[in-house]
Every structure is written in structure tokens, then in C-alpha cells.
């Protein structure tokens, strides 16, 4: 049972990955993705990889979810303005 901690962290990661995929609304998905990034960071610390965990915390929980949120916002602006203007391009 020496591996209890790594295995628990691995199972948490697998669970969170499933949660990210099954969240269908991208805006909510960004939040779940952030939590998944944190779960990955915890796993990396457990696997004795502090360098990687640091990088994952900064990117996986901050930068990528932020980019997803901004993309969702930018797309929503085009969606709401589209129907009456039609395809002008």
C-alpha cells in the first residue's frame, strides 16, 4: 500500500478529466478545467515533480481557463449579432 497516495491522486485526476469532458457548456467548462488543472498539479507534486507542478498551476489553472473564457465571450458577441445581419461576407 505504499502507492496509496499516488493512486488516489491519479484517480482524482481521471475523475476530474471526465468531469471536464462531460461539462458541455464551454463557460462552465472553463471553471471545471481550472479545477482539473489544480488536480493535475496535486498529482505532479505527489509524483515528486515540483517544477512541473509549478508550470501546471500557472498555466492549467490560470492562463488556459482565462483564454477559454475570453474566447467564449468573443464568440458570444458574434452569435448575438449574427441572425439579422446574415452572411455579409
Amino acid at each position: 500500500m505504499a502507492d496509496a497516495l499516488p493512486v488516489a491522486a491519479l484517480l482524482l485526476t481521471a475523475f476530474m478529466a471526465t468531469a471536464v469532458v462531460l461539462t458541455r457548456d464551454p463557460a462552465r467548462q472553463a471553471i471545471v478545467l481550472s479545477a482539473y488543472g489544480l488536480a493535475l498539479a496535486v498529482l505532479f507534486v505527489v509524483l515528486q515533480a515540483p517544477d512541473v507542478a509549478m508550470s501546471q498551476t500557472a498555466i492549467g489553472t490560470v492562463v488556459v481557463p482565462l483564454v477559454v473564457m475570453l474566447a467564449v465571450h468573443a464568440i458570444r458577441r458574434h452569435h448575438t449579432r449574427e441572425p439579422d445581419e446574415g452572411d455579409e461576407r
Binding site: 502507492d3 517544477d51 509549478m54 508550470s55 500557472a58 483564454v67 475570453l70 468573443a74 458577441r77
Partner: protein, 226 residues
């Protein structure tokens, strides 16, 4: 292809992948075992070159040429994102973004926290870049922290201030200079772990700021001309 047909084809491929992956995984050395032939070969080299953080030593000394390739991928994709998201003529950019996206209504506590965390986070980023050869950290991690730190100002509700403190041309120049310096270091002076950490930190930070800036422009400022 209909969604149903796509799912069937996808499941077919996924089943094959699952079987092959399981077979491959069962052939790997056991989890947590002591067989790490490649890793063990890197250790004496890192110690001989006085780089206590072996991960930094591998990235910037023993595998510096590979890291050069990864750096250029990073620069190319950041550049491509900037080019794709440029505002075209049909879209009118809101001059200063003041009227609808001035100071947002946020709680004073949030604003204060954001302003207080900004210098601390920047300091942490510099520390992580500077001590990358010694302790966990380095140019990649510190660069991302530096690049995302200034967006705390946006969280404090002040997008115009964020736009003022990150002049895009300066960051574009910084990105280009850092990438050039990294090419020179990786080809001519591989093993200068501290210098390479600093250069990578600058480049990653600039890339993060540039890509995020373009997404912010798209999300907040661009309006379609009607």
C-alpha cells in the same frame, strides 16, 4: 457525416486504441520501480556542471537543442494567434474602450487585493526565473507567472489601466529579442542555464501577454461595423 455515424467510427477507433494502449502499458516497467536508464544517465552530468536542479540542467544544457525547437513552436503559435486575431478593417476598434469598459464595478476588497497581489506576484515570478537553476522553477514557470501577473489589474476591474501598462509593440519587440537571444544561446553557449532561464522567462512572459492581449481585444473591444 451524421453525429451518430461519427460516434460509431469514433468508438471503433477508441476500442482499438484502448486494447493497444492496455497491451503497451502491461509491457512497461512497473509503477514506482527503479528502472530509469535515461534519467540515471542525466544525473552525473547535471552534478558535474553544478546545476542542482536537474530538470533545468536537462532543458537548458543537456537537451538545449530540443528546447530550441520547443521555443520556436511556442513563438510560432503565439505569433499565429496574434496574426489570426488581428482586428480587420471591417471591425471598428473602440478608441480607448472607455465608455462601456472603463472601471468596472467591483468590490473595494477585490480591487485592493488585486493591487496588493500584483507586486508580490511579479516578485515571485522574478524569483522563480532567477533561482531556476537552484530550486524548482525556471524560465517556463516564472515566465508564465510574470505574464499572467499583470492581468491582476483586469481582475481589479481596470481594463484601461491594463491596456496602458502593456504596450503591444514593446512586448512584440521583447518577444522577438528574447527568441533571437535564445537561438544564439542554444546554438553557441548551451549550458548557460541562468542566462537561458532569464531569456526563456522573458519570451514566455511576452508570449502570454501578447496572446492574452489579442483575446482581450476580441472579447472586449471589437465591434462589428454595421
Amino acid at each position: 457525416m451524421s453525429p451518430r455515424g461519427r460516434l460509431i467510427v469514433g468508438l471503433f477507433g477508441a476500442t482499438g486504441l484502448a486494447v493497444l494502449f492496455t497491451l503497451a502499458a502491461l509491457g512497461l516497467p512497473g509503477f514506482g520501480g527503479t528502472s530509469h536508464p535515461y534519467g540515471q544517465r542525466t544525473l552525473p552530468n547535471a552534478i558535474a556542471r553544478h546545476t542542482p536542479n536537474v530538470v533545468s540542467s536537462i532543458n537548458f544544457d543537456q537537451r538545449a537543442f530540443d528546447t530550441l525547437g520547443e521555443e520556436l513552436i511556442l513563438m510560432a503559435s503565439a505569433l499565429a494567434a496574434v496574426v489570426i486575431l488581428r482586428t480587420v478593417r471591417a471591425e471598428q476598434e473602440d478608441a480607448a474602450g472607455e465608455h462601456s469598459y472603463g472601471r468596472a464595478q467591483v468590490y473595494d476588497a477585490l480591487r485592493l487585493t488585486g493591487y496588493l497581489l500584483l507586486p508580490v506576484t511579479l516578485m515571485t515570478g522574478v524569483y522563480i526565473v532567477a533561482h531556476g537553476y537552484l530550486s524548482p522553477g525556471g524560465g517556463f514557470q516564472g515566465g508564465v507567472i510574470l505574464g499572467s501577473a499583470i492581468h491582476l489589474i483586469y481582475l481589479s476591474g481596470d481594463y484601461p489601466a491594463l491596456a496602458r501598462i502593456r504596450p503591444i509593440p514593446a512586448f512584440e519587440a521583447g518577444e522577438a529579442l528574447a527568441a533571437g537571444a535564445f537561438v544564439v544561446l542554444a546554438l553557441g553557449f548551451a549550458g548557460q542555464v541562468k542566462a537561458m532561464n532569464a531569456v526563456v522567462g522573458l519570451e514566455v512572459g511576452c508570449a502570454v501577454v501578447l496572446a492574452l492581449a489579442k483575446f482581450f481585444e476580441q472579447a472586449l473591444l471589437v465591434r462589428k461595423q454595421t
